[in-house]
């Protein structure tokens, strides 16, 4: 078992999802129990499914100074960074610590592959990319973190984590180690993924896309709804006072089972949970709220429901918020981390939007309705292709105190 870590302070955070720009738009949708999913109208030949699309990106070009980086993913990154004063918080950290002491660790599954897909639909006579879509810094997995590094003028370690749907959960683990070793004094973490043909038609080929808005943990669930989102958090050492939010722990593991199907007994997921609780120095009885991976695929929800039932007390309120935002893939980790932080800040335990009748596999932890309560400790699950798992533990100040 890993050793407990010193909690990290989360000094700023934001998310921009289909619910709107900034964390308050997400909070409003969670409070209202309102889905942000809409019928798919993305791309030249839209599949009959529902998507979580961020409005207005088409009319929101990057500032002139960043125009070389133009693509949908960077537009969403830029819109996301503008939320909740996040850029100002990073600039203040840069002044406080120096640009070289601010690390940047971002997760994405597809980065700006949408721009590469566009180029393939518009190849020139020689079969090469069109002249207006030829920046090598855009057509590469690292484009997102490289863009943000450039846009925020940072000079510390900068890396892209791309482990499919656990990407922007694992960034918290990567950043914690950099901070623990003193290689940085602050870390910007987060992730961005945008709608693109690869994921819509790819998940469709795997028969995982639903024709209706996704219904996580519903007995009649029929697959996922794909969404897009950007989210960021600023991590620093130290507890930062009574009102502060903290990263208490994380666990990372592999299923060692299958590229696109979870381990049938959830062994990898449970190992990530065990490690996360051990790093937080708590046991599952203290967890008030779980934001589930809950994609509404048949297999994920079955395995995750069983894990919740055997490991958490009945009082834990667990939901998937993918009925609100859709599955935002490489951005799901940060979006659902933000949902956990909102639950801790407001005490609002969200409903499971779109879900009508819970699957019989669900224990008392998994809820359909929302309620007001108190959340000291919240857990977020993120499980990705390749059997790549990450579980995060967040809390308010003092929540992680060893008893």
């Amino acid at each position: 078992m890993p050793q407990p870590i010193a909690p990290l302070r989360i000094s700023a955070y934001t998310a921009t999802t289909a619910a709107g720009p900034g964390k308050n738009a997400l909070l409003a949708a969670l409070r209202a129990g309102r889905t942000a999913l809409t019928p798919n109208d993305f791309g030249p030949s839209p599949l009959p499914t529902w998507i979580g699309r961020v409005a207005g990106l088409e009319a929101a070009p990057l500032p002139t100074a960043l125009a070389d980086w133009e693509c949908r993913n960077h537009r969403l990154a830029w819109l996301g960074l503008a939320g909740d004063g996040f850029i100002e918080a990073v600039l203040a950290a840069r002044v406080r610590h120096g640009a070289a002491r601010v690390a940047l660790v971002l997760g994405t599954s597809t980065s700006s592959i949408g721009a590469t897909e566009d180029a393939y639909r518009a190849l020139d006579a020689a079969g090469e990319f069109p002249a207006d879509n030829r920046n090598p810094l855009v057509h590469t997995p690292h484009s997102l973190a490289n863009f943000v590094h450039h846009a925020l003028d940072l000079a510390g370690p900068c890396v892209t984590v791309s482990t499919a749907c656990s990407s922007s959960a694992k960034v918290f683990a990567t950043a914690e180690r950099l901070l623990r070793l003193g290689l940085a004094d602050a870390a910007v973490v987060g992730g961005v993924d945008t709608l693109c043909g690869s994921v819509l038609f790819g998940f469709n080929a795997l028969q995982l896309v639903s024709a209706e808005p996704c219904r996580p943990f519903d007995a009649e669930r029929s697959g996922i709804s794909i969404g897009e989102a950007a989210g960021f958090a600023l991590l620093e050492r130290g507890s930062g006072g009574d009102a502060s939010l903290q990263l208490l722990g994380y666990g990372e593991s592999s299923d060692a089972h299958h590229m696109s199907t979870p381990h049938p007994e959830g062994l990898g997921a449970e190992r990530a949970l065990d490690d996360a609780l051990a790093r937080a120095g708590i046991d599952a009885s203290r967890v008030d709220h779980v934001n589930l991976h809950g994609t509404a695929s048949a297999k994920n929800d079955e395995v995750e429901a069983s894990l919740l039932a055997r490991r958490f007390p009945a009082r834990t309120h667990a939901v998937s918020t993918k009925g609100v935002t859709g599955h935002t893939l490489g951005a799901a980790g940060i979006v659902e981390a933000v949902a956990c932080l909102l639950a801790i800040e407001t005490g609002w335990l969200p409903a499971m939007v779109n879900t009508r009748t819970l699957d019989a596999a669900c224990g008392p932890q998994i809820r359909v309705g929302g309620e007001q309560g108190e959340v000291r400790i919240a857990v977020s699950n993120s499980f990705g292709f390749g059997g790549n798992n990450c579980v995060l533990v967040f809390g308010d100040a003092g929540a992680g105190a060893r008893s």
Binding site: A100, H142, H149, P157, S162, T163, L181, G197, E252, N388
Partner: protein, 283 residues
């Protein structure tokens, strides 16, 4: 800002390129004691994969599993006990070309297998499945600093958690229209096990730190390395040359190596002495 951040000890090392298929030949070539093959070797067929998968596996997966298995074998460690860091600048360019070309013409025909092979962590996934490893694995990218970023992450994990970590780095050739924006040539992969202390398998050791200030593109010391410089993982070559050339000549003054992480940050490696044959407690 270049205080020593840690020390890591390399136990197993592996290398694969079509003209230097294997570390023994690569090491000799980097030392100027052997020539690269005149006729390129065929893509490796990792024994870890079932025969059907061996043929179907994307180039990145075949390369990564080949070097990962060789490095772990050299280290003498159990593959399922090692957390892993996989790094690649561009991922599987062949799969990406297939995905984008198919989406442009007949999107409903996308192969589900090609789609799940298109994730950047495909090689990490196949590795953990093939070895039954439930430890953490990650998949990173940092454009032309992808080796340095992967090495940094592995060194950080090794230091922070006092555990041995497997590092696997690979890139393949750009194909199709992607070649108009991505200049990666040939196949190149390497792997190594980084450990927090020395043992009888240790072959090299480095003290490492971060240093701010303008960084430079890597300089290659051997003709063999220069022939591989067009691959997107070529930033691995200076460290491999250092291990090949300097590790056995610790009596000489060996220069520090600055691996470029970004335009203003480098990971500095200083060759460190180690007691060969030292027993590692708790192994």
């Amino acid at each position: 800002m270049s205080a020593q951040a840690g020390t890591f000890f390399i136990e197993g090392i592996a290398f694969w390129a079509p003209t230097l298929p294997g570390w023994p030949l690569a090491r000799a070539a980097f030392r100027g004691e052997a020539e690269p093959l005149a006729v390129a070797a065929k893509r490796p067929a990792p024994e870890l994969l079932a025969p059907a998968e061996r043929r179907r596996a994307p180039d990145t997966v075949a390369l990564a599993l080949e070097v990962a298995a060789a490095a772990v074998r050299e280290s003498g460690r159990a593959a399922d006990a090692l957390p892993s860091v996989f790094t690649s600048a561009q991922g599987d360019l062949g799969v990406n070309d297939y995905m984008c070309a198919t989406l442009a013409t007949q999107p409903m025909a996308i192969s589900p297998t090609k789609f799940h092979n298109s994730v950047h962590n495909a090689a990490a996934g196949y590795w953990t499945i093939a070895t039954g490893c439930r430890e953490a694995s990650t998949a990173l990218s940092a454009f032309d600093a992808s080796f340095a970023a992967g090495l940094l992450d592995a060194a950080v994990q090794c230091q922070a958690d006092a555990r041995a970590v497997l590092l696997v780095a690979f890139d393949v050739e750009a194909v199709g229209a992607l070649g108009s924006v991505t200049a990666s040539k040939g196949l190149l992969a390497c792997a190594m096990v980084l450990a927090p202390s020395a043992n009888e398998r240790t072959i090299a050791a480095f003290e490492w730190s971060l240093a701010s200030g303008p960084t430079q593109a890597p300089a290659y010391r051997s003709a063999a390395a220069r022939t591989l410089a067009g691959n997107a993982m070529a930033d691995a070559l200076p460290m491999l040359e250092a291990i090949a050339i300097d590790a056995a000549t610790s009596s000489e003054q060996v220069p520090a190596l600055a691996l470029r992480l970004s335009r203003n940050l480098a990971m500095v490696l200083e060759p460190a002495a180690f007691a060969a044959g030292a027993a590692e407690a708790g192994r």
